[in-house]
């Protein structure tokens, strides 16, 4: 599934990029990419394939993270198509597990053990539970997320897919695509959905 979409994006990319406005710094960008390609070495789990842009990254890099709307919509729909759902069909798990996952910022660096469970990294960028004061501010505050929005099936689906792949809703979002890159499994994402939407979660107290 993933491979198919990557392939489709690769085929579509040359067509799409010709539609983009010409950038004055295209020359420097080409030189920067050539420089990056020669100046890194693999270490631990971080192989050189991480240096290549996928379709979304390529478009965001070439438009200063402001892609033309029509293009963004097409690629966002592609991202949605690759979402994998939990086997039991339920989208809310255990908020307590979600909280401990949200605390962990480990995973995917060259110094992390491959195969080690990857953290949700949530508190790195978001305020979530009022009990945790050491939160980052790159993303919006999620305090009282469910209290303010309810936990209807539609809201559960939105939160699940947003965490699975934030690029579905904002192609050049700064948030990683945790499900898409298989950092988090569907079961773990369910626990994070519960952290934000379960009325018993401290987030909604």
């Amino acid at each position: 599934m993933n491979r198919k979409i990557v392939f489709a994006t690769l085929v579509a990319l040359p067509c799409l990029t010709t539609l983009l406005p010409a950038q004055a710094d295209e020359n420097y960008r080409a030189k920067a990419i050539a420089m990056i390609q020669k100046d890194f070495k693999p270490r631990g789990q971080a192989d050189l394939d991480r240096l290549a842009e996928d379709g979304v990254q390529a478009i965001c890099n070439r438009t200063g993270n402001h892609p033309p709307e029509a293009l963004a919509k097409t690629l966002e729909a592609d991202q949605m198509a690759s979402v994998k759902w939990p086997a039991d069909g339920k989208l809310m798990g255990d908020w307590k597990k979600g909280e401990s996952l949200a605390q962990s910022g480990r995973g995917f660096t060259w110094s992390d053990k491959p195969g080690l469970p990857v953290g949700g990294n949530c508190y790195n960028c978001h305020q979530i539970s009022p009990k945790e004061v050491a939160y980052g501010t790159i993303g919006p505050s999620l305090l009282h997320f469910g209290k303010l929005r309810g936990n209807t099936p539609e809201m559960q689906k939105y939160v699940y897919t947003k965490i699975y792949n934030a690029k579905i809703y904002n192609l050049c979002s700064e948030m990683p695509r945790f499900g898409r890159v298989e950092a988090l499994k569907p079961e773990q994402i369910k626990d994070l959905v519960a952290l934000l939407l379960d009325p018993e979660s401290p987030v909604n107290k």
Binding site: D25, K31, A32, M35, F40, L51, T109, Y135, G136, A183
Partner: protein
């Protein structure tokens, strides 16, 4: 005498640093940042990095390497052979003999290889100090010494030189290049004012103020692990957190980023090697 004073400072660090770490969770962010800044400023006039500067001075003046020459009598940091006053804040710069734009550390490495006959691979094998090492690598001590001789001088990367300008523009592109499993670029975390990760403030490197925060105080004695580290290390560890593979030591990519950062801080007075958390 000076050594004793610095050792005293190290002990104070161990105690105060520990206290600081213990209470950090219980006090609010602004107060924590303020407290640390006060503590850091008090300590900076007896920075343990002064020991590294002293070692660097010996290394700079000693005849070393297979060719048995000193850097003082052979190495041109852009102002003439052996001239070091204000050299650090004017790098990265273009060096005709190497036909390349080089940052300070890379230039010193170049001199060690070309003038003293050391092998690049040997220097690049272990270029950064780890917490359990008995001391910093020679190259770190040399960078400390050279940086110390730009204390009180403004950053002055020459963007009128077209070769420097080109590397600056490439560095800007690299700072905005998103890739890897998390789609991170430098600017994902360092591209907006007033953001932080957990409690850590994130300077916006695209602004003069933010770039100043990024380059000021480096090279540094770092409280975490008690190690002396350079900007080459700082860039290396940023790429680790970006989930990228490892940048090669003293590579063009690192020079390009350092050109972008340092030039963005042009005009700001450099305070010399500092202390980092």
């Amino acid at each position: 005498m000076k050594t004793l004073r610095i050792l005293g400072a190290l002990c104070t660090f161990a105690v105060t640093g520990g206290l600081y770490a213990q209470t950090a969770d219980n006090i609010d962010h602004a107060k924590a940042a303020q407290e640390f800044e006060k503590f850091r400023a008090e300590m900076e006039d007896s920075n343990p990095a002064e020991l590294n500067e002293l070692k660097g001075e010996e290394l700079w003046k000693a005849k070393r390497g297979p060719k048995n020459v000193s850097l003082a009598e052979s190495c041109d940091l852009g102002l003439g052979i052996g001239k070091i006053e204000g050299a650090y804040v004017q790098m990265p710069r273009y060096f005709k003999d190497a036909d390349a734009v080089m940052d300070a550390e890379r230039r010193i490495v170049w001199c060690m290889v070309e003038k003293q006959g050391f092998k690049f691979e040997d220097i690049a094998k272990k270029p950064f100090q780890s917490p359990n090492d008995s001391g910093a690598p020679d190259i770190t001590n040399l960078v400390m010494y050279i940086a110390g001789h730009s204390r009180g001088k403004p950053f002055a990367v020459d963007l009128k030189d077209p070769k420097v300008r080109e590397v600056y523009e490439i560095g800007k592109e690299i700072a905005h290049y998103r890739a890897g499993p998390y789609d991170f670029a430098c600017s994902t975390c360092h591209g907006t004012d007033g953001k932080r990760i957990r409690m850590q403030d994130l300077p916006n490197i695209n602004t003069k103020e933010g770039a100043t925060k990024a380059v000021m105080g480096w090279p540094a004695w770092r409280m975490t692990g008690g190690v002396a580290l350079t900007m080459q290390w700082r860039m290396n560890d940023c790429f680790r957190q970006q989930r990228f593979p490892e940048p090669k030591y003293a590579s063009d990519t690192i020079t390009a980023l350092l050109t972008y950062l340092t030039a963005n801080a042009n005009g700001v007075v450099y305070k010399g090697p500092g202390i980092k958390r």
